[in-house]
């Protein structure tokens, strides 16, 4: 895991550096040791939160990665919010008016949405909104306009997935006995769906959202690259290209950590909506 194919020293030292100096660097950085030794060493340090220094900038890797965290969060969370805002109403409506034209279109949309690779969608959006219409910036960060395209790109897949899932969960819930009970108590349809069914569907949806955050974070890597968003993803890609593995590892580690934290939050939320867990 430690030594990426392609020796990093080659990428940082000047091309006219003599062989001795390259070897000296390799030794200094520990690349000349067997891989398993490097790996073990890394693990020991990583557990202590020490990923070593970036090969390129010679700064500690972890702060460099943490620096980009807000940007990635901003992108991922806004995309998440966007996709929830679109997909939940869409899925609910689609389930409620099952087999209607609306439902069919929504289903077709979700099937299509899951088949579109996000980076390609990003390219298309750049082509239309930046290259053709010149409406939105094609990349970089800064104003809210910079956020729109990457957010939409990143949200697209989740919208498709969440809509689909909301729809099927909702259909499931609508078939449940307790919905019939509520109906039998004379609860109006809107209230039935908005209050009763939705809260029940929310439980599986929260789980899915938490699980999908991995996909979302992974997608953020690609989206950040496509739109030059200054987040962890872009840093990771650059570091991969540069073979700057302390950063790669710190980044991957941080993403895994975020994922774990988010899963924890999801568990808490889950308990919040699901009293069966809350009250034991």
């Amino acid at each position: 895991m430690i030594r990426l194919s392609g020796d990093p020293t080659a990428l940082f030292l000047p091309p006219d550096a003599p062989r001795e100096q390259i070897e000296e660097y390799r030794e200094k950085l520990g690349f000349n040791r067997p891989i398993y030794v490097q790996y073990g060493d890394f693990m020991v340090n990583a557990v202590q939160g020490d990923f070593g220094q970036s090969l390129r900038s010679r700064e500690d890797a972890l702060p460099l990665v943490l620096d980009r965290l807000p940007a990635t969060f901003q992108l991922a969370i806004s995309a998440l919010v966007l996709s929830l805002l679109i997909s939940i109403p869409l899925g609910v409506l689609s389930a409620f008016r099952r087999n209607s034209i609306f439902d069919r279109i929504a289903v077709a949309f979700t099937v299509l949405g899951q088949a579109v690779p996000s980076f390609w969608l990003g390219l298309l959006l750049i082509y239309f909104f930046a290259a053709q219409l010149n409406m939105l910036p094609s990349g970089g960060a800064g104003s809210i306009t910079h956020l729109i395209l990457p957010m939409v790109t990143l949200a697209a897949y989740s919208v498709a997935r969440f809509t689909r899932f909301t729809r099927s969960t909702m259909l499931d819930v609508l078939r449940k006995d307790y919905i019939r009970t509520a109906k039998a108590s004379g609860v109006p349809t809107l209230r039935l769906i908005g209050r009763y069914a939705l809260k029940n569907s929310l439980i599986p949806i929260i789980t899915l959202v938490a699980l999908d955050l991995g996909t979302l974070l992974g997608g953020a890597v690609i989206t950040e690259v496509v739109f030059a968003w200054p987040g962890i993803g872009r840093l990771l890609m650059q570091s991969l290209m540069n073979r700057d593995f302390p950063i790669v590892l710190a980044g991957v580690f941080i993403i895994a950590l975020i994922y774990a934290v988010i899963n924890f939050i999801a568990d808490v939320l889950y308990a919040y909506v699901n009293p069966q867990i809350r009250v034991k």
Partner: protein, 300 residues
């Protein structure tokens, strides 16, 4: 004393239910769902062009012709235009299909086999083996799939073989997870208990009763994962790892084409459409398979 034999009514249904061959059932089911049919046709088409593609391409997909670079679609006999080296995009897309198909199928074969074995071991034997294996799975699952593939690919290097290995390393856990939970669920099924009660051996239960019942989830999961792998490969190749040029893969075609997004829209359009149609076909077929093979999920 003789045993009373109750009459059994022969309902029309039971008389009608002659044994149909599996193939006939498959197609009669398929014909009933147009989405499944579309998915199936796309997959057949894809398979066809990936096998026979090299003989049906109008141009050599690798041959650069600088006189004809960046021709828009439908000019000079180039259906989808040419790229920055004057290579025929249509031919390259046709040949790219093979890369996608090879990657999709091979990866699913490797990841599926390995993951299934792990899942079975974990689910059937449980105990500390299960604990260890599932801990590994959990840890790996906390890394986003695409990121993992990317990093693995960066470590072991690019190229067709290595991208398959990377995808398989990233992908087996899903199989392990799903198959394990299937096995666990199956273990609790009453018919398995019935087997124990009958005195079937443990190995017998595993091979004769659990494995056949795993066939359906494996098939469903595989068909759904192929789409994931194809898109993941395209993403990784797009990012400059994965399959390297001049080998035409849709992902690296997009990578090469993205610099021309302002001048030559067709470079980024058609490979993307190819990926999308492929993923769509595979997903539709996978959904259909799931709906047909897994009656419990059939409701939706």
């Amino acid at each position: 004393m003789t045993v009373n034999i109750p009459k059994v009514t022969h309902t029309t249904q039971s008389i009608k239910a002659k044994k149909q061959s599996a193939v006939v059932t498959f197609f009669s089911n398929l014909l009933r769902s147009w989405t499944g049919m579309v998915g199936f046709l796309i997959m057949i088409l894809l398979l066809f062009i990936s096998i026979f593609g090299q003989w049906i391409v109008p141009y050599d997909p690798l041959l650069a012709d600088f006189g004809k670079k960046l021709l828009p679609p439908m000019t000079d006999g180039h259906l989808l235009g040419t790229d920055q080296l004057g290579r025929d995009i249509f031919s390259r897309i046709i040949l790219g299909a093979r890369v996608s198909v090879i990657i999709g199928l091979t990866t699913v074969l490797i990841a599926g086999t390995f993951g299934t074995i792990v899942g079975i071991i974990s689910g059937y034997f449980r105990g500390w083996v299960d604990v260890i294996l599932m801990r590994i799975v959990d840890v790996q699952l906390s890394f986003p799939f695409i990121l993992l593939v990317l990093v693995i690919n960066a470590i072991i290097g690019s190229g067709l073989r290595n991208i398959i290995i990377s995808l398989a390393i990233g992908g087996w856990v899903i199989f392990a997870r799903v198959i394990r939970s299937e096995v666990l669920a199956l273990r609790e099924k009453e018919f398995i208990t019935a087997c124990v009660a009958t005195g079937v051996t443990r190995i017998g239960i595993l091979f004769k009763h659990i494995l056949p019942n795993l066939f359906t989830p494996i098939i469903i999961l595989s068909s759904l994962q192929i789409g994931t792998y194809i898109i993941a490969e395209a993403s990784v190749s797009f990012l400059g790892f994965g399959v390297q040029p001049p080998e035409p893969a849709w992902g690296n075609m997009l990578n090469e084409g993205k610099d021309y997004i302002f001048s030559s829209w067709w470079l980024i359009t058609f490979p993307g459409i190819a990926i999308m149609i492929t993923a769509l076909g595979v997903n539709l077929f996978g959904d259909w398979l799931r709906d047909t093979l897994d009656p419990e999920l059939k409701g939706e």
